[in-house]
């Protein structure tokens, strides 16, 4: 009896209450949706949601890493667009360009993210304003590159394959990409010194520094990773919709922040699990999908979207009482 109790106690210690609550909300939403139409519980619909959720999932991964440090990355919208748009530059190199298109785009995101990291870690500019400026710079670069229009190029075969193909048992490739990124992130966060350092910095950077962690390096690397993940999501999005367009990343900033926070990551840093972020991403994706399937008008969708997020935050996202 008591052995069982202990086991239960260890189990609940490992299951993040916020992640559990978010997963619970996902199930409730699906059940509510199934009252409206039974197709909400069909495997095809669920797989499609996972595929769409993968784009948000990649962005939310970067956002979560940055949140764990106690920072924020507002440069997501245009770094996603950079990832989507830099293909002509690579395709211009002929056959090799085709092969390098995806790494090249991700590299562009990595570079811009690295500059974010330098600004935040070494220049000590608050991340909220520095990444905002980087967003404007990335926008400026893309406007110059394309002359303000949608570029006339199409996404390459490889991008198309990654974003829309199904290779195994009809499971979308985008989902495999997300799973790979997720496994890597979980490994990095829980099994490496880098992960320990991220949590330590989020709790108190000064203490982390005194413990011998190269805090500035870790912060810089994390912002670079966030930039690369945003650009990667842009690559997939461009492959999914077969073209890149201005402001294609705009609808992803707020959902990414909401997903990470609903998943229980503390926005002030130091606390959060990746499982929670996965739950948050699924929650946001399914909420958006249900609202659009019900053919709700945009106004009503925004109202419900905002209200649901607030309701869920009030239910379990409250801070502990200060003092």
């Amino acid at each position: 009896m008591s052995a069982q109790m202990t086991r239960l106690a260890t189990l609940t210690r490992y299951v993040d209450p916020a992640a559990a609550a978010a997963f619970g909300c996902v199930i409730i939403l699906l059940l509510l949706g199934s009252l409206y139409s039974s197709s909400f519980l069909s495997p095809e619909y669920l797989l499609q949601q996972l595929q769409v959720g993968a784009f948000l999932g990649l962005i939310a991964t970067g956002m979560m890493l940055v949140f764990l440090l106690g920072q924020i990355d507002l440069s997501v919208p245009w770094l996603v667009t950079v990832g989507g748009m830099m293909s002509t530059a690579a395709a211009g190199w002929g056959h090799w360009g085709e092969a390098f298109a995806i790494p090249f785009r991700i590299g562009c995101g990595l570079l811009l993210g690295l500059i974010n990291g330098i600004g935040v870690a070494y220049l000590r500019v608050p991340s909220m304003i520095f990444t905002l400026g980087m967003n404007a710079v990335a926008q400026g670069l893309m406007v110059i590159r394309t002359g303000g229009f949608a570029p006339q190029d199409h996404s390459t075969e490889a991008m198309h394959f990654l974003a829309t193909g199904h290779s195994l048992f009809g499971i979308p490739n985008a989902l495999f990409v997300w799973i790979a990124v997720a496994l890597l992130t979980v490994f990095m966060l829980t099994r490496t010194t880098y992960g320990r350092a991220v949590y330590a910095i989020g709790n108190r950077e000064r203490a982390a520094y005194l413990s011998g962690i190269p805090t500035q390096l870790v912060v810089m690397a994390t912002f670079a990773a966030s930039g690369a993940l945003s650009a990667f999501a842009g690559v997939l999005l461009a492959g999914y919709s077969t073209k890149a367009y201005q402001a294609m990343g705009d609808p992803y900033l707020l959902p990414a922040i909401a997903a990470v926070v609903l998943g229980g990551t503390n926005i002030l840093g130091g606390r959060g699990s990746y499982l929670g972020t996965v739950a948050g991403v699924l929650l946001i994706t399914i909420l958006q999908s249900i609202l659009s399937v019900m053919q709700m008008e945009e106004a009503g969708r925004q109202l419900i979207y905002g209200s649901v997020i607030i309701a869920m935050l009030l239910a379990y996202g409250r801070q502990r009482r200060a003092e």
């Binding site: 304003i129 905002l132 404007a136 402001a247 935050l313 009030l314 200060a322």
Partner: protein, 326 residues
């Protein structure tokens, strides 16, 4: 005299923004083909006043070490509301104006209630309420349009006798009637104290909850005044997520340029006004110098990054590396 030194040290950020604006604006005017006349000044003021009002709105919240990501959406909501109810006879229009301001105040109060009594993080709470306010704006105005009392609009966007742009009088009235009383009141000083150290403010027995609530509510009020002025300038309402998002982000940039600390406790709304005007003048300068318009967004971004990176010079004066981590 010691008071003078203290005053300068306290208002360094605002003064810097003011000087920067003067330099840039005189540069702009001296290269403007028409030179400085009442019309040029009125156009410039009309362009700058909207962001100045939204930046002031942001200042109230930033001083308490919070952030309001819904200011742009309150601005858009006020615009849509004003294009529906500020019409008809002078009396009806005045009632409409009051209605818009009350709506703005209510939006701000909701933000405040969620942050203080709901104990939510300001970033996410205002993000979510921003979606709600935008939903309301879309519901009011699914397609751009509407109308506004044109007599009132012309009066407030034209020139006063003597060639002074009327919007500057509006701005001055807002400063005198909202900002100065707030700054001098107990609640206003409490807001600064919260930004400097919430724990110390609590231990001193200051009314934390009421001060924060007032800051959020006034933020909503000022954003709605901005939306009202937008309606007077465009004679119509439009529920555009892009306008809302741009104003929210630019308001953050403006308060930082105006010397308001994002960590709270320092800066003033006056600085934020000049921060907003500086941001607007950058765009005008590019226009006067005949820059390819395609380069304009990049240029603005680079200038913003450079301006906020200038603060890093303080790092050179640090004696102890631990000071890096504040």
């Amino acid at each position: 005299m010691r008071d003078g030194h203290y005053w300068i040290a306290e208002n360094k950020g605002s003064l810097l923004a003011f000087v920067l604006f003067l330099v840039m604006f005189s540069f702009y005017v001296s290269h403007h083909p028409a030179g400085l006349n009442a019309d040029v000044a009125t156009t410039a003021a009309n362009k700058g006043v909207l962001l100045a009002l939204v930046a002031m709105a942001q200042t109230f919240v930033v001083i308490t070490a919070g952030i309001d990501l819904s200011v742009g959406m309150v601005f858009v909501l006020a615009n849509c509301l004003a294009s529906s109810i500020v019409v008809g006879s002078p009396l009806e229009s005045m009632v409409g104006v009051a209605g818009v301001l009350v709506a703005g105040l209510a939006c701000g109060a909701l933000n405040g209630a969620l942050v203080i009594y709901g104990r939510l993080q300001p970033i996410v709470a205002t993000l979510a309420t921003g979606a709600i306010y935008f939903g309301l704006a879309l519901w009011l105005r699914p397609v751009p349009g509407g109308d506004v009392n044109s007599d009132l609009a012309d009066m407030l966007t034209d020139q006063l006798p003597g060639g002074i742009p009327a919007v500057l009088a509006v701005l001055a009235a807002v400063v005198l009637l909202v900002w100065i009383p707030f700054r001098r009141s107990l609640l206003g000083r409490t807001a600064y104290a919260i930004g400097s150290s919430e724990q110390a403010a609590f231990m001193s027995g200051l009314p934390l909850g009421r001060a924060k609530f007032l800051a959020y509510a006034l933020s909503g009020l000022l954003a709605s005044i901005g939306g009202l002025m937008l309606t007077f300038l465009t004679y119509s309402g439009e529920a555009s997520a892009m306008i809302g998002g741009t104003y929210t982000l630019n308001s953050i940039a403006a308060v930082v340029l105006g010397g308001v600390s994002l960590f709270g406790g320092a800066g003033s709304a006056i600085g934020a006004i000049f921060g907003a005007l500086v941001l607007r003048t950058i765009g005008d300068l590019l226009f006067v110098f005949d820059f390819d318009p395609l380069w304009q967004p990049l240029f603005q971004g680079v200038i913003l990054l450079a301006a906020v990176s200038l603060g890093s010079f303080r790092l050179l004066r640090m004696r102890n590396r631990l000071d890096l981590f504040g």
